[in-house]
Structures are given as C-alpha cells and as structure tokens.
Symmetry: C2
Subunit: 335 residues, 2 copies
DNA sequence: CTGAAAGCGCTTACAG
DNA sequence: CTGAAAGCGCTTACAG
C-alpha cells in the first residue's frame, strides 16, 4: 500500500487537514508544523493521490486529444505541440485515434466523459452533428485544430486554406506557369478539400487562366492515391508544367511518379506542396511547399483550451499565418 | 451538475447499492428492478464517474507511454499500436514526450504515479538507474519497447539489432559489394547504436572483408546528421559501392546527398536502410530497408502490459522478427 | 432480492 | 494556528 495523507498525519502528529493545507500551500500553520509535515512526507515517501483529489476538486488536470490517425507526421506534430503546452501547465493528455470512424469517435467521447477530462481538442476532422451534441452534453470546453465548424461558441485554430492554396498557385503563376494542375485532396472534404480547390481555381481566374477540369485529379491526401492521381494527370494533361499538390505526401507522390516517367523536377515540371512536414526537406529535390505551423497550432489550441478550463470564458478562433517555403521543386517556366 | 448514482437511485426508487450492482452486472436483483434502473439511467442521462470508481477500485484503466519524441514517424507508429490495443481493451493512454531529458522523464514518472496509472510503457531509450528506481517504487508493471535492460523482471519487446544489422550487411555482400560503408547512429548508444555497428563489423569479418574505420561515419539517426555523415563518407571513402544506414532517415539523407553529388542510386551506389518507416516507400528510388514491425511492437507491448496488470504475473520478453524489404536502392555490384 | 453503512484518499467549511 | 467532520461518487461486505 502506498502511504496516504493519514499516514503522514500520524507520523507528523497533526491532523490530515493540516497536512492537506501544507500540501496545497494554503495559509494556516506555523513554520514548525510545516517542517514537521515535510519531514514526515519525506520519511515515508508520500505522494498525493490525484484521483482522490480529482474526485473532490472536479478537476482531473487531464485533457483528451482526438486524431484521425496519430501515426501521421501531420497529427503527431500537432500532438507534440499540444503535449508540450499541456505538460508545462500541469495537464496530462490522453490520445485518441479515431480512424475517422464515427462509432469509435463516439465511444471515445464516452470514455473521456467517464474519465472526467477537463477539456478536449478535436483535430483534422469535420465535427459531425452527433459529436457536437455529445460534446455539448459533456459540458466541458473543447477546441478544434486544423478544422473548423459553424457553431460560433467553439473556437478553432487553423490556417486559411483557401488563401494558402491561392497563394501557392499564384506563386506558380508568378514564375511564369500557366498550365498548372491540381493534385487535390478528397473532393467533398469541406475543410481541407474544397477550400483548396477553390483557392486554386480563383488564382487561375484572377490571372486570366481558364480552369480546365482535366487538370484536376483527386486523391485522399496520402501517398498512394497521390501516385494514382498523378498518373491520371500525366495521361490527361501531358502538357502541364506545374503542379500544386494539396498535401506534401501527394507532392512527394508526384515527384516519385515523375521520376518513374523520366520527367525531371524541377527542370521539366515544377511542384509545390502543402503542409511542410519534416518529409519536405528529405525529398530529392527538397520540396517547395506551403507551410502550416503544425506545432504552433497544437500548442495554441492547447493554450486556448486550458485558458477556457481555468477561466470558464469563451476563447476566440485563430487563423494562423501560412508561408511559402522555397526549396528546390519550383523553377521559372521556360528557364 | 452531472447526475450521479444517487440521482438514478432516487429516480428508480431503489438504493444506490442496487444501481451499482446492475451497472456492474453483479448478481442480486430482479429483472424488474434491472429494467427500472435502466429506465432511470436513460431518462436522466447518467454516466458513471470513472474517477470515483478508480478511487475505490484502485484501478484507473489508464496507462502511460513515454517517448523521446512523439512526433517522429518511428514513435508515432509504436504509439498507434499501443493505442489500438489499449482502446480495444478498455484502457486509455496518456502520452509523455520526454525529449530524452532526464529531469522531464522523472517529472513525468511522478505525474503518472500521482495519477495512479495502472502501468507504463517505456520506449526507445535506455532505462537509467534512477528511472528504474522510481519505477520500482511505483509498484506498477511496465514494459520496454524498442529498447531493453539488464533487469530481468522487466520485459521488453524489440528486434535483434545485431542480427538485423548483420543481415542487412550480408545482403549487400551477397549482391557482390565489398566496399560497404556504415552510416551509424549514435556511437555510444547501447541499444540501437553499438549492436548495429557490431552487426556490421561481424558480417564483414565473416566474409573476409577487413573493417576499415574510415568507412564508418556517425550521426544520431536523424536526417540532418545523416547528411553530414554522408558527406564525410564521400570524402573519406570515395570508392564505396554500398551503404548500410542505421535508420531510414539516414538512408534518405544518403540518397539526398548522393543526388547532390550526381551519384546515381542504385546504379553507382547501393543503399539499405533500417526501420521501414512510411517514408521508405516515398523516396526516389523507393528504399530497400530492414523492417522493424513497429505497430506490432507497440501492440504487443501493450498486450503484455495489460496482461501483467490483470494477472499480476510476470511476462517474458519478445524478440520480434525483422525482415528485409526489397525495393529499389540496392543493385548487384558491377551490374 | 435489497438496503444501510463503511470506506477509498482527499479538500474544505466550520468551530475553536 | 489547528482539528473534527462532512462529503466528492462510487463499491462492497454485511445483514436481513
């Protein structure tokens, strides 16, 4: 049995109330008592029981974080941002891998509720109505990261996807490209899919370049589908000179497929990605891409969450700055 | 206020003991009572409080997992394996990012202890004596993954690093290579560093190839140092025809640097990596590498941990099978 | 089959 | 400055 507050009280010859006071730095005891208590704690190796504390305080100092896949470079970078802030502020984080599965997500929400987490971070997925409903029932604060929603009491932290896509494509245009293809993410994804498609189209239109649907191929942001989509592009739009990929993985896929076809990047084909994962530095050639500050996004969303937990005040949403990281996959057209 | 067991007792007109019994599927009530209780639970939307349960049961259904860096492809794949098994068996997992920092690790151990986790998984790092000491004090089971230690009451799950390195190098030799360099991990790392160096040396010796220290360059398993080490190799051992890299990231670094120098992989230089991260499929050309089954390692270590928690019996360690995944970075010498 | 009561390890008024 | 007591939301003997 681990020693309890009772044991230290007995050892120090005081009441448990007094022990509790010195443990919590509350006022109301002499220096001598304090010393006695600390000595007793030391001697018997006492550690407070956070569960008992949690029961009475109605605070567990624990938050939950939900990801579609924890094992992606994308999610795990956000996770690290969350974890760092949480740890520095005395919170623990329990991770939940939803596999983008509704049932699993709901089950998790249930578990987190029973475990009395103080708050929740929800990442990278659409906040379905049923999630929203249970979340509201749970009566705990939560924040969205790398996603957003229409309810305005729930803050989100993300990049402006439309604008970021627009900027990427405009960057390509500024370099003289006009035959620009889009390696798109999921077609009906309202968060990361549609806005990036719209940004792509808008940039072309603004520069008087007609949108050609055969210059758009769809994947699911991951490498495998990126390869397939890239193959399509190469057959349907063989004259393209540049590609905007809606994720770094798809951009890397484009590089791979191009290599397989003997197409030189960036000499014959320019490619710009999206995310700036660690991956981007490692490709050959290193990938030019739109950076999302994932660590910072995780960090800030955790900060907002903890603030909401502690103040019980609402927090506002935050659009993070994106930027274009120039590496070596884009080259002026015709040079 | 969330409804408690008291509220449902009142609503159902029974005692809280009875509610507790039906909630826990214990014997001792009529079907009619059971129905009444369930109806009450339904009506008031009752959810059990796991914290109160944990206090009395001395079980929190929570485990801790410690990684040097959660955000690496390596750690996060293990994490997913752990998380999957935990979730399927009713456990939650709290993640800890130690940054390989002793103070931070100790602080975490403290927190996990106070939060009364039922067990712990410790990943990828040497289990220092002070960690071992606190862990023993905590009196909870724990298992090591992707690392090992000399205490034989603590089970580990890992690959045979020496053998895996040996096999990788022998694979290169079988393909006719004799000028084989090693892109090593940290020199004094007793887990992933030394055994792989020894495996490399042993394979050479077994095949009558003298070990030449200028064919060995050191990094820390990551991309950046991999690039540096590769540059060294190229200046000190310009005649090498093959490289065994102690991690996929370093292998990718070798590919990048080779490309920069106009050296063709695999035509002029063969490279074999170590890990088989998702990364390995994405390089150009796709990386031949030694596979560690990271997901399975995480999964199994979690299974062992939960079994230890539930049975209070010791578990044995497990050496996982490695294998060579042939992709396109190795070619017979001279072909 | 069912309930009253003790207790898990704490915190927090309340009283002195 | 200090302690006795109630209570957080449960589970579990014990008694009937």
């Amino acid at each position: 049995m681990n020693p309890t507050i009772k044991d230290v009280a007995k050892k120090a010859n005081v009441s448990i109330a007094t022990v509790s006071r010195v443990l919590n730095n509350l006022p109301g005891y002499s220096d001598r008592t304090k010393a006695k208590v600390y000595r007793a704690i030391e001697e018997i190796g006492y550690q407070p029981n956070a569960i008992a504390r949690g029961l009475i305080n109605k605070r567990t100092q624990t938050i939950g974080v939900m990801f579609p896949t924890v094992s992606s470079l994308f999610s795990s970078e956000i996770l690290r941002g969350v974890e760092d802030f949480a740890q520095d502020n005395g919170y623990s984080v329990v991770v939940c891998n939803t596999d983008s599965d509704g049932k699993r997500t709901l089950k998790y929400l249930q578990v987190l509720r029973e475990k009395q987490v103080d708050g929740l971070i929800f990442s990278s997925e659409v906040l379905k109505d049923e999630y929203y409903k249970t979340l509201q029932q749970m009566q705990i604060p939560y924040v969205l990261v790398s996603t957003e929603c229409q309810y305005d009491n729930v803050p989100y932290v993300k990049v402006d996807d439309f604008q970021a896509a627009y900027d990427a494509v405009e960057y390509l245009i500024r370099y003289g490209h006009r035959k620009i293809a889009l390696l798109s993410g999921t077609k009906h994804d309202t968060i990361a899919g549609i806005p990036r498609i719209e940004g792509y189209k808008k940039a072309l239109e603004q520069h008087g370049i007609p949108v050609n649907e055969s210059y758009i191929a769809y994947g699911d942001f991951l490498f495998e589908t990126g390869c397939k989509a890239m193959e399509e592009l190469l057959t349907h739009a063989p004259d393209l000179t540049a590609i905007f990929a809606a994720s770094d993985e798809m951009a890397i896929a484009a590089i791979s497929v191009a290599a397989k076809h003997g197409i030189k990047v960036p000499d014959e084909l320019s490619i710009i990605g999206y995310d700036d994962l660690k991956l981007a530095r490692m490709s050959v050639p290193p990938l030019t891409t739109v950076r999302q500050p994932l660590y910072e996004m995780g960090n800030l969303s955790c900060q907002k969450l903890i603030r909401m937990i502690q103040t019980e005040e609402p927090e506002s949403s935050m659009i993070m700055d994106h930027s274009i990281i120039e590496r070596q996959t884009v080259r002026p057209f015709g040079s």
